[in-house]
Each structure stands twice: as C-alpha cells, then as structure tokens.
Amino acid sequence: MPRLTGFVVVIIGAWMSVLSASAQSTAASAPRTADGKIDLNGVYQASPLRGAWDPSQPGPPLSEQPSLTPAARQRAQELLNRRSIDDPTAICLPSAGPRMSGVILFPIQFVQTPGQVVIIYEYMNAVRIIPTDGRPHPADAEPTYQGDSVGRWEGDTLVVDINNFKEGNWLAAGVVSSDKLHITERYARVDKDQINYEAVIEDPVLLTKPWTIRRTLMLREGVRVREYVCAENNLDPGRYQEYLKNPSLFMRSPEQAAPPR
C-alpha cells in the first residue's frame, strides 16, 4: 500500500510539473516534416509520463480554475447538485478541444500534411480538420460542438483559433459555454515524446477573465485509435429519466452542496 501511495504522489507531482510547462518550449529534438515544420504525427495520451500506454493513472487536474460570472457559477452549482447528469457527453456528444484532449482513457492521433492538421479523437469518434494554409474561418460556418478551427504556425508552435461553437459546451463539470465561446490552442512538440498543450478559453457570458488550461500529450508508440461508437449501448439516458422521478435518490443533499455565493 505505501507503494501505491507513493505512486499517486509521484503522479500528482508529475502533473504539477507538466502543468507549469510552457507551450512555447524549444523544439530542437522534435521531429520535423519535409517542409521544415514540427511534425505532430503520432498517437498520444494526455499524461505526465513518457512511455507505454498507462490506463491506471489519475487524469490531469485543472491547471487553473475558471473564474465564473455570478450567473454561470449559480448554474454550475445547480448542475453539480444534479451530479452532472445533464453533461452532453452522457448522450454521446463531443465537446471542445480542451476537454477532448484531456480524456486520458482514449488515444488522440495527429495526422499532419502540408497545409492541414487532422486530430482524431477516439473518444466520441470525433475529428477536427484544421487548415494551416492561411485561409480564414469560412463565412458560412454553422455552429458546431467542436467549433471551427483554423491553424497557423508561430515558429515551432501550432496555434489554432476556434470559434463558431454551439452554446452549451461542457468545458468542465457544470462549466457550460455560451455561443460567445472562443478558444486559442497551442500545440508545441518539444521533443519526440511530448506535446505541450495550452488552451486559452474566452467566453464573456461564462467567464470573468480568460481561462487557461495546460497539459501534456505523450507519444504512445504502437497504440492505435479504435472505433468508439458511444451510442452502441448507452444505458444512462434511460436511467436518468427514471432517476428524475425521484431526484432525492441521487441529487446532492443541501448538506453536501454549498450554495453559490
């Protein structure tokens, strides 16, 4: 048991150290493509540790807590009191990049070609196509769950601007976006094994100031992205309908839930 305690402490320490990593770190030892760009190709896991796939570790803590507007904080508390049953992922919907990139149980594949980076998330079978050829956001973009992404290279860092989100994106438990959500992501592959990821989240309805999330994505050689069809056997929506007939069975009691201030 002391060994397990030590392991947990090591993991927490590792996350703390990577969370302070800068997305603009130097990339001298990172692989490059034929056109001289940093090569992001590979399959990764959100993790503080290099090496093989590791399903047992705790996931990344939030590197920075969001500063919510009073209305957003009250809504968050109400949703947390319902133990997050309203989270759209419970009905198999995808979410924005900062959340998708932090789901440690599922690999993420980067496919990079000249003028484009494609991110394939096994979680929810979600795909983001990110042009890097200088084109702007399309004028006719429809709001979507993952938003519209356009990328550009700033030195060795891929910078992705995301807008046009549907409202109602759960960025964390109870932290729900408006249609004003705007995210700037930075991907910096600092060496063969590690991408430093940073997302700056802006939403004037949700947040009183920009919210920055940092984590590391670690290369997992030999791991393949598989098909994940969440709708295959999703029993929870039906359960939740039953639970709502008797909410006291599952909702946090007043003693457990602090009222919003």
Partner: protein, 137 residues
C-alpha cells in the same frame, strides 16, 4: 486504502472529463461491494461493458448481478482480451460500488479472475460527476 481512495476521488473531481458518465448519479461511494459468482453473460460494448454474474446470497438463493465498467476500447488497452480473458462459466470476484437503488447492480472497479489475476474493469469512484462545489466558490 481510504487515503488512496480519497486521493483518487479528489483527483477525479478536478478532472475536466476522463470518463463521460456520472458515477454519483447511479452509484453510491458509501456502499462498496465485493461479490463472487459465476459469469453468465458479457457485454463487450461502448460506452460501457457489462458483466453478469450469478451470485449465491447467504441463504443460498441465486441473485443475478450486473457490473458496469469501461468501454470495450478501453478494456482492450487495460489487459483484457475479448473472449479470452474471461469465459462464460468462470468464477469471478468483483469489487465495486453498489447502485443507489440497492438493486444487484454496481460499478465494477476490479475483477479477480479464477487464477487470482486482478484487472481493473471500471473507473474509480467519483469519476464524471464533478466536484460538490462550483469553481470559484
């Protein structure tokens, strides 16, 4: 053990999302359960897999238990091989947390196989439900 569980729960609460369904909506962290029974059915599916066990209660009556765990894609990277790791008729011991409605249904955290090997089958307690207090409080 309580310290470890508390650490895991605290970390899980801080995580944006590393599994998508709320633990606490369905399961009660205060009712851990360990049962041993005979495997009658396996659902190797997404977003959750399920094990069905016939378990004899203290009076000898057979109770059909259901354990929910990781999606099949995750189990495939957690030491499990479909149709090989476990087979119908195997005697398994499962540790987890029981459903709030007290039915013979639980989240299955760890499975002990007939040969004594132990494998994680589902996530830790607290996953997916978020913290009890909204950020910024």
């Amino acid at each position: 053990m309580r310290l470890i569980l508390a650490l895991f729960v605290a970390l899980a609460a801080a995580i944006p999302a590393w599994a998508h369904h709320s633990f606490g909506a369905t399961f009660d962290v205060n009712t851990p359960v360990t049962v041993t029974g005979v495997l009658t059915k396996v659902q190797w599916t997404n977003p959750h897999s399920h094990l069905y066990l016939d378990v004899k209660d203290k009076d000898g009556a057979v109770v059909a238990w259901m354990f929910e765990g990781y999606p099949s894609v995750v189990l495939s990277r957690t030491g499990w091989t479909r149709d090989q790791t476990i087979k119908i008729g195997d005697t398994l011991t499962v540790f987890g947390w029981r459903a709030r409605d007290k039915s013979p249904f639980a989240l299955g955290r760890e499975v002990t196989l007939a040969d004594g090997k132990r494998l994680f089958f589902g996530p830790p307690a607290g996953t997916g439900e978020g913290p009890s207090v909204a950020p910024g409080n």
